[in-house]
Amino acid sequence: MNKYQFALLVVPEDQANKDLVIGARDSQPNTIQNKIRIEPVPGGRDEVWTATIHDYLPRLERYERWHLVLVIDHDADVPKIQQHFDELIPQSLKSRVWVLGCRSEPESCRSRLGRPGPLRELGSELFNSCMTQLSPLWDHNELNHNKAQLESLRKTLQNLIDQEKGS
């Protein structure tokens, strides 16, 4: 971990979201995998926001190449998540922070998507080839609210890949 190099810190709300994140990381090219750091699980959605404010935003202020992804359950209240994002994340950092998550929670999402396997495998399926083409699973009602955030995150990662190729 180098504080002056690109890093994508991922904060999963709980163990189930962490399983999704591990699968997502495993499915990425090595260039991206090596930049992703999975942070300790705060244990709840409110705790994620608290950790973001107290632990992560100050670090993003300090290290301009660090980025943050929060993976939280939306608990069927997508507008509230958006409201938190708008209110809590300073304008200057909004381009380096993303919020993703299931509309309900990972276990219900898995069952509604018809994927009985481990959440890790669902995470891999969702993010496999996401740099070129999003899985159709993202169109499902459980996940389709993430598309704008995903597109923005994809552009940032694509820039990283392009920079690495050029260096």
């Binding site: 971990m1 709300e13 709980d14 163990q15 962490k18 399983d19 591990i22 699968g23 990381r25 495993d26 090595n30 995998q33 090596n34 992703i36 750091r37 999975i38 300790p40 699980v41 705060p42 244990g43 709840g44 481990p118 959440l119 890790r120």
Partner: protein, 361 residues
């Protein structure tokens, strides 16, 4: 891929089977003394048996605890070429002092027996012919009598077991000289220099993968070289700095740097010569806290199978719950049991539950 590892009457295990999850990556956690390292010893013994012909007595020298007077059984189950292969080896003390003998060996393919040895009586299934019997004098473990035809599945099992690398590194035992003809790593990494040198000599493409990984692990590394000495020995060195060069023999690297060298070598081996099954007892040992996640992820990325044991929160965080097994043992008189983390009630944060001792019964 390793699917099952069994131990009967060895150290804390009276009758135990580790069932490995479907994932390529597995983490085994458990309190001190729960038997994690003992599992590594059992797997290492079977891998040693496949590497070169060994008698039961020679083989048991790799163990830290004597074989049980009533016989110890080592078992391994693997998916090989779409078949499930199970192998059992039972060793017991011989009437001759200080010696061991094979009590029995058995080999099953998809639950059907293919090979059986009881003492000196060997019975094996020959396709198109039927059962054959041989009475033989002392025959090495994992081998038919020398004058008998080979069984293909036997070769497959041996070939796979040779590719099982059990490592419980002791950095102080990692030397700087590579010796000709030594190809195994050694359970403590004592032959790392030889293993590395043999890899890049036989598979030159491995060097680029190795050095890129080592540079990523240790900033400032430029390249490695080796200097020939009489007797075929080679001194392996790591070179730092481009303008002002600093050359350090492998032996003089820090403990953590030796782990990076080891991991870079194994990752290169997986890439050009794999797949291997790597069982690494506490891979996070000797590493700084900020480095562990990247290190573990690098090992997860390889195309082979990676099994680790650990107590470290950073390592535990790098595995999904379906990949984590918990060894439980109430006390030193009870036998360990194994559970998948996904079967346990650990709340919303596994690491916190482990720290508070909630995961263990």
């Amino acid at each position: 891929m390793l699917r099952e590892l069994g131990l009967i009457r060895y150290r804390c295990f009276e009758r135990f089977a580790l069932e490995v999850p479907e994932s390529r990556n597995t983490l085994i956690i458990g309190k001190n003394g729960s038997g994690k390292s003992t599992l590594a010893q059992g797997l290492n013994l079977l891998s040693l048996a496949a590497r070169e012909p060994q008698t039961a007595t020679h083989l048991a020298n790799s163990l830290v605890t004597p074989i049980d007077p009533n016989g110890t059984i080592f078992m391994v189950g693997a998916d090989l070429g779409g078949q499930r292969v199970d192998y059992f080896l039972s060793l017991q003390p011989s009437s001759a002092a200080g010696r061991l003998e094979i009590l029995f060996e058995q080999l099953f393919v998809d639950s059907l027996e293919f090979f059986h040895r009881a003492g000196r009586e060997i019975t094996y299934w020959k396709p198109g012919v039927g059962w054959n019997n041989i009475a033989s004098a002392e025959v090495p473990v994992l081998a038919l009598a020398p004058d008998s035809p080979e069984i293909e599945v036997f070769n497959q099992l041996r070939s796979w077991l040779k590719r099982v690398i059990v490592i419980s590194p002791a950095p102080q035992q990692i030397g700087e000289f590579a010796e000709d003809g030594v190809q195994s790593l050694g359970v403590h990494g004592e032959h790392l220099a030889s293993f590395y040198q043999s890899l890049i000599a036989t598979k030159p493409r491995a060097y680029e993968i190795f050095i890129n990984k080592l540079r990523a692990f240790i900033p400032g590394v430029v390249e490695t070289d080796s200097v020939s000495f009489p007797g075929g020995r080679k001194l392996v060195r790591v070179i730092f700095g481009r303008d002002q060069k600093l050359t350090i023999p492998l032996k003089e690297l820090s403990d953590g740097e030796k782990m990076y060298f080891l991991a870079a070598t194994l990752i290169a081996a997986q890439d050009v010569d794999g797949p291997f099954t790597i069982f690494w007892d506490e891979p996070d040992h000797y590493l700084s806290l900020d480095a562990i996640q990247t290190f573990i992820q690098a090992l997860r990325q390889t195309k082979g199978q990676f099994i680790a044991t650990s107590h470290n929160a950073e390592t535990i965080n790098a595995f999904a719950t379906d990949e984590i097994l918990v060894l439980q043992r109430e006390n030193y008189l009870s036998e360990p049991t194994m559970k998948r983390v996904s079967e346990l009630d650990y709340g919303r944060d596994l690491v916190q539950a482990l720290r508070l001792g909630e995961v263990y019964e």
